[in-house]
């Protein structure tokens, strides 16, 4: 019984470590997808002169189809739901729609700081002319690049660290409890 309990503690802690390591990888994947979507959005706005609703729907739809096999559809769905809200013409301010729909990403691998960056993008989208849209999107892309770079650089060490910390933590707890 004692040994069974010890095994469970070790397995549980290892699982926790693996989960944290996976979260790191997933966050990186989400941010890479977001960067790609922002590039598409930039294209729709700058070259197609598409209004925000149409541009978000187009990008969201395209990425949802592409990502459906991988099951990574949170961001495309977010874009599409913002587009849907714009189409409903309820008379709200764009930044409010963006902020409200952003709530659906709360349980995603994105961290608070990622969501704050995304929220601030929504505060300025649609403001003034095309060159302002371009600068706004480029500024956000720069910010995303920095985050992606950091996550990529530390991915190996962090995943190793989380996994081994999980195993070690499990062993330590087992020894302490025995």
């Amino acid at each position: 019984m004692k040994w069974m309990g010890a095994c469970l503690v070790i397995l549980g802690c290892t699982g926790l470590g693996r989960h944290l390591a996976c979260q790191w990888t997933l966050r990186l994947r989400w941010l890479e997808q977001l960067r790609q979507m922002i590039y598409f959005l930039k294209g729709e706005i700058l070259y197609g002169h598409a209004p925000l609703g149409a541009a978000l729907e187009q990008v969201g739809g395209r990425c949802e189809r592409a990502e459906s096999a991988r099951g990574c559809c949170g961001l495309p769905r977010f874009f599409r739901s913002v587009a849907k809200r714009i189409g409903m013409q309820e008379g709200e301010i764009f930044s409010d729609i963006w902020k409200e729909e952003l709530a659906q990403l709360k349980d995603s691998p994105l961290k608070e700081e990622d969501l704050a960056g995304l929220k601030s993008l929504g505060d300025h989208l649609g403001y003034l002319d095309l060159s302002m849209q371009e600068r706004n999107l480029l500024l956000y892309l720069e910010h995303l690049d920095g985050q992606i770079e950091y996550l990529r650089m530390h991915r190996k060490e962090k995943t190793k660290l989380y996994t081994s910390l999980g195993v070690m933590g499990g062993l330590f707890l087992t020894v302490a409890m025995l």
Binding site: H49, P51, L52, Q133
Partner: protein
């Protein structure tokens, strides 16, 4: 009042609530005017109305606007413009430079305020302080009285509709396009004409009210539309690519437009066009237009006015200035 419902939905929450409470749906409004610090004015039944009283209801705008009259705030204008452009003013930049934007349903929002000039050209409107929401209406059959006069021996004549603003020239042109495209029959005098291919250059999206390039207004079964395209360039494009028998354009006036019309005429196309003016004599006072009229580019001139309501046909003239119908 389907279009009124559509128009109310184009306003941001605050103004929308106000308009809904004031029972705006029962008014066949032609336009709504918003000016910072001034009353919100609506034109309907040939009169002006403003929102007044404790209940903020529509009242005929006469005399001095008192304390209880609703006045438009800076925020109202900003939110309206932002909302009507679907939060994408950048997408309407080229239109805004010309002082208007056309929104879904073909309604036209006139914008005035402080402009930014660069290199002697208007670059943008920086502070929009005045808005004029002109409500577009499709009046099927409004061209019935004009149709018999724009055909001669079964052939359509190039026609120019001359009218001051707000007299229904776009509405009339839209119906003529529809009828020419579908084919037309007059039971009274047994006159009939087969439907022919019409190419429409809809620079301001008012004729077709296109959404993603697809017209929401009925322009007929043989009509091709080039939406949001500059008239002069669009006419050339249509003639080269779609081989229309009739080319239709709204509000011609620039030298480039006239050159493109001349090109169309030389290619054997007939023309349906509108222009701002009071009368034929009025146009002949302008040197470029006089020359153009004398060339015989148009065989029919339809003069409109708003006497007794928009769309009143004051007269139809032939190329020689002979009155065919009053």
């Amino acid at each position: 009042m389907e279009e009124m419902e559509q128009v109310i939905r184009l306003f941001p929450q605050r103004l929308r609530n106000l308009l809904q409470k004031a029972d705006t749906l029962r008014f066949p409004a032609e336009e709504l005017r918003l000016r910072i610090g001034q009353p919100l004015l609506m034109r309907a039944w040939g009169k002006e109305w403003w929102l007044a009283g404790r209940e903020q209801c529509w009242e005929a705008a006469t005399g001095h606007a008192g304390q209880e009259v609703y006045r438009v705030s800076e925020e109202d204008i900003r939110d309206t413009l932002e909302f009507m452009s679907r939060y994408s003013l950048y997408a309407y930049h080229e239109e805004l430079r010309q002082g208007f934007l056309t929104i879904s349903g073909g309604h036209r929002i006139g914008v005035a305020g402080q402009v930014v000039v660069e290199g002697g050209r208007v670059k943008n409107i920086l502070y929009a302080s005045f808005l004029n929401v002109r409500i577009a209406r499709e009046v099927l059959g409004c061209g019935d009285d004009v149709m018999p006069w724009i055909y001669e021996k079964g052939e359509i004549c190039s026609t120019l509709i001359i009218s001051p603003p707000r007299c229904g020239k776009t509405t009339l042109l839209r119906d003529l396009i529809r009828q020419v495209s579908n084919g037309w029959e007059c039971k009274e005098n047994r006159q009939r004409a087969k439907g022919i291919t019409v190419g429409v250059v809809d620079e301001r999206s008012e004729l077709g009210a296109c959404c993603h390039g697809y017209p929401q207004n009925d322009l007929g079964i043989r009509t091709d539309v080039l939406d949001a395209c500059p008239k002069a360039e669009g006419m050339m494009m249509l003639i080269r690519s779609m081989a229309p028998q009739v080319v239709a354009v709204d509000e011609i006036g620039s030298i480039q437009d006239l050159e493109a019309i001349r090109y169309g005429k030389n290619c054997g196309c007939k023309l349906l066009a509108t222009i701002h003016g009071q009368s034929l004599e009025d146009l002949q006072k302008k040197p470029v237009l006089r020359e153009f009229i004398q060339e015989g580019t148009f065989q029919r001139f339809v003069i409109l006015s708003s006497r007794g309501g928009a769309g009143k046909v004051e007269g139809i003239f032939d190329a020689g200035g002979r009155c065919l119908k009053t």
